[in-house]
């Protein structure tokens, strides 16, 4: 079995488990490092971004209470511990599997891959304009990460309405699209309950439509903006599952760069260092599969070699 097939199967298992595992009463907690959307009622575990926003919002509630005259310190220790506990589990999961959560398990990633497959079946080429703007676009994920941290704090402390606690979730296209797989269409409808809710539901629809168009013309388009990828970057020196390069063995054929869904150049350009995990890498290891030089690219789990590139493997049909 090829790595590509194994990845495709794993992605589907990930999709089924994270989207429908709830029907089997499976609960994997709230610190999942991929877009396992909590708005899917049959989901198995929650995307950590939601947990993080909620924990930040709750942590800053004392400020809100202090403004309204209530005891600001009640439950603060519990809330803080809850944030640390969630962060701890998230950290362990990220350290073990690195960014392969995105490339191998993320259900929303698989949805993007389905859209890419459809485009390829139709023989439509990837948009060069979007590829060339990649460097500029990928900065947005850090802006969104900042937005994801600041908004819950402001909402928790009462500066903004409470809907802003889940400010990122409210504009995340996974919220609109993933529940559809469980037959739930409520998030693609306009919410007229409050002005803020209306604003968010409108923003969600616009973002989702834009993302769908982008995802059709560019592989893994949403991943360029995903704050989860940005958050995971803080752990990049600690990953156990690593992407390594032997620069001397590289012929510079460019297969790695061309096959990368996120058009990363680090693997191709690196001529000295062994660690080639790019900030935008999603750990799919397609570059290792496509590499036509023997043992130039390696996937390692700690000190152990899991998979290495080979001339013959790349030439398989």
């Amino acid at each position: 079995m090829t790595l590509a097939k194994l990845r495709y199967i794993t992605q589907h298992i990930g999709f089924l488990v994270f989207t429908y595992g709830g029907f089997l009463q499976i609960n994997l907690g709230q610190s999942i490092p991929c877009l396992s959307c909590p708005f899917v009622y049959s989901c198995t575990g929650f995307c950590y971004l939601m947990m993080l926003q909620r924990a930040l919002g709750v942590l800053f509630l004392p400020l809100n209470r202090a403004f309204s005259g209530a005891d600001p310190w009640s439950n603060i220790a519990d809330n803080f511990l809850s944030l640390l506990f969630g962060l701890g589990i998230f950290s362990v999961l990220v350290i073990v599997l690195g960014k392969s959560w995105c490339g191998w398990l993320c259900p929303f990633g698989l949805v993007q891959d389905w859209i890419t497959r459809l485009r390829r079946k139709l023989g439509i080429r990837e948009s060069e304009i979007l590829v060339r703007q990649k460097e500029k676009l990928s900065v947005i994920k850090y802006i969104l990460l900042g937005y994801l941290f600041i908004m819950p704090v402001l909402a928790g402390s009462g500066v903004l309405p409470v809907d802003f606690i889940l400010a990122f979730c409210n504009i995340c296209p996974a919220k609109a699209l993933m529940p559809l797989f469980a037959g739930d269409v409520q998030y693609i409808a306009m919410d007229f309950s409050t002005r803020v809710a209306l604003g968010f539901s409108l923003a969600l629809l616009i973002v989702t439509a834009a993302m769908l168009i982008g995802m059709f013309f560019k592989d893994r388009f949403f991943c360029l903006f995903c704050p989860m990828l940005a958050l995971m970057n803080f752990y990049k020196r600690l990953y156990l599952l690593k992407l390594a390069k032997e620069p001397m063995a590289c012929h510079g054929c460019g297969n790695c760069r061309r096959t990368c869904s996120l058009d990363n150049e680090t693997v191709y350009r690196e001529r000295v260092k062994s660690n080639v995990y790019d900030a935008d890498c999603m750990g799919c290891f397609k570059c290792v599969e496509g590499c036509a030089a023997d043992k130039s690219l390696l996937v390692k789990l700690g000190p152990f070699k899991v998979f290495s590139s080979s001339r013959r493997y790349a030439a398989r049909i």
Binding site: R120, R125, C253, R258, R271, A315
Partner: protein
């Protein structure tokens, strides 16, 4: 031109043609009389013996033949247009005599020989010419090939298409430029064949055919790494690639693989780098064998580098496929004519770190400047690593054989120490 001159030239051509046949058949005889010759290898020897005129190749493959200088033009593109690409080369000493008076004294003997063979009208001896010429602008000699053909009075003038090869590989602009050239090549092939459009599925199929050839060829390379494939047979097999349909050739290589089931002798393993070697001029390979050196790796464009390597593609749009081909044939090419070519040097040096060979023999054809210049860099790098390096400059004559052999034997002794 007077009648006397015509007669003289005619006589010279006839004389050279006879000697040309002698030179080729002599090498064929040597190959077939080797103790390691097996019936499975006959196919490759016969291809080389059968001549390189377009009529023969076209009859064999059922496709019109396009002459190709160098290996940067995607072969798959010719295939999908129903054409047979044929890499122009010259390996005969005697053919050089026809082109020698008009050409510079110090010039790549391979091209001099190729021009001589063309002048000899071997290419059109059976009435059929190359459908077209495709030339990527690699070294100075290749860049000027059309002019040299005119100077040599070569009458064959089919449509000539140049591909402007960007000599920087790592720049995005250069890669885009090369992709444009591949699109222009597609337009040219479309024009000469009259096929307005190609289906992307057909292009993907052609790419898979060459991918399969490369896969089987890779198996042969792996056998060579273990010292089981003598470089002479490896060269014969790789040289014959352009003489037949890729699928038939691949099947024959597959059949030949079991022939190389054991290593004959425990000789020092070496890396052969430098200028290409073409049949029937296998002088250097005979000398290496005679000196007791075993070639386990090489980077000659007539041998291990006849394929660009695996073209990995997952974008099945026509643009995606052409982009994959363009990048692989440009960025993945380890020709010394590129300017930012440190990866080529690494390709030679890296296996030494894994003790895959003991030393490097660098073969330079007199007048082959890119390789000659590159040998300086390589020598410095190898000597820094404490590895043995020898540069042998030669041409197609046999006068220097004894000198070369003595040097190679001395080199072998240094490897043993």
């Amino acid at each position: 031109m007077s009648n006397n001159q015509d007669d003289r030239e005619g006589r010279l051509k006839k004389k050279i043609l006879d000697r040309f046949d002698d030179e080729t058949s002599q090498e064929i005889k040597i190959l077939k009389s080797r103790p390691d010759f097996r019936p499975e290898l006959e196919y490759f020897v016969d291809l080389l013996a059968g001549g390189r005129d377009p009529a023969t190749i076209s009859a064999r493959t059922g496709r019109p033949v396009v002459a190709l200088m160098c290996l940067q033009a995607p072969l798959e593109l010719f295939h999908v247009y129903g054409l047979q690409p044929f890499k122009i080369f010259g390996g005969t000493m005697v053919a050089q005599r026809l082109s020698a008076p008009q050409l510079p004294a110090i010039m790549c003997p391979m091209l001099r020989s190729a021009l001589g063979e063309l002048h000899l009208d071997l290419a059109g001896s059976k009435g059929q010419k190359f459908l077209a010429w495709v030339t990527p602008t690699t070294c100075d000699w290749v860049v000027k090939i059309q002019d040299m053909m005119e100077v040599c009075g070569i009458t064959e003038k089919p449509p000539f298409h140049r591909l402007e090869l960007p000599h920087l590989k790592d720049r995005t602009e250069s890669q885009d430029r090369w992709l444009e050239e591949v699109y222009l090549l597609r337009g040219f092939l479309s024009q000469i064949t009259g096929k307005k459009k190609i289906r992307r599925q057909d292009l993907a199929r052609s790419m898979n055919i060459y991918q399969k050839s490369w896969h089987v060829f890779s198996n042969l390379i792996d056998l060579k790494r273990t010292g089981r494939v003598p470089e002479i047979w490896f060269m014969v097999i790789s040289n014959s690639f352009f003489f037949d349909d890729a699928e038939k050739w691949t099947e024959s290589v597959k059949k030949a693989l079991p022939v190389f089931n054991k290593r004959e002798k425990a000789l020092p393993d070496i890396f052969l780098a430098g200028s290409p070697i073409f049949f029937p001029n296998l002088k250097m390979l005979h000398l290496l064998e005679e000196a007791g050196l075993n070639v386990v790796m090489d980077d000659l464009c007539s041998s291990e580098r006849i394929f660009p390597g695996a073209v990995y593609f997952d974008d099945f749009s026509e643009h995606g496929l052409l982009k994959a081909l363009a990048q692989r044939y440009h960025q993945g090419c380890l020709c010394p004519t590129f300017s930012d070519n440190d990866r080529r040097i690494n390709n030679i040096i890296a296996p030494a770190h894994k003790d895959l060979y003991k030393g490097v023999v660098f073969h330079v054809l007199k007048g082959c400047h890119p390789f000659d210049l590159e040998s300086l860099t390589l020598e410095c790098r190898l000597k820094d690593m404490g590895l043995k390096f020898i540069k042998l400059e030669t041409d197609y004559t046999s006068e220097d054989s004894q000198t070369l052999l003595t040097r190679l034997e001395a080199y072998r002794n240094t490897l043993a120490n």
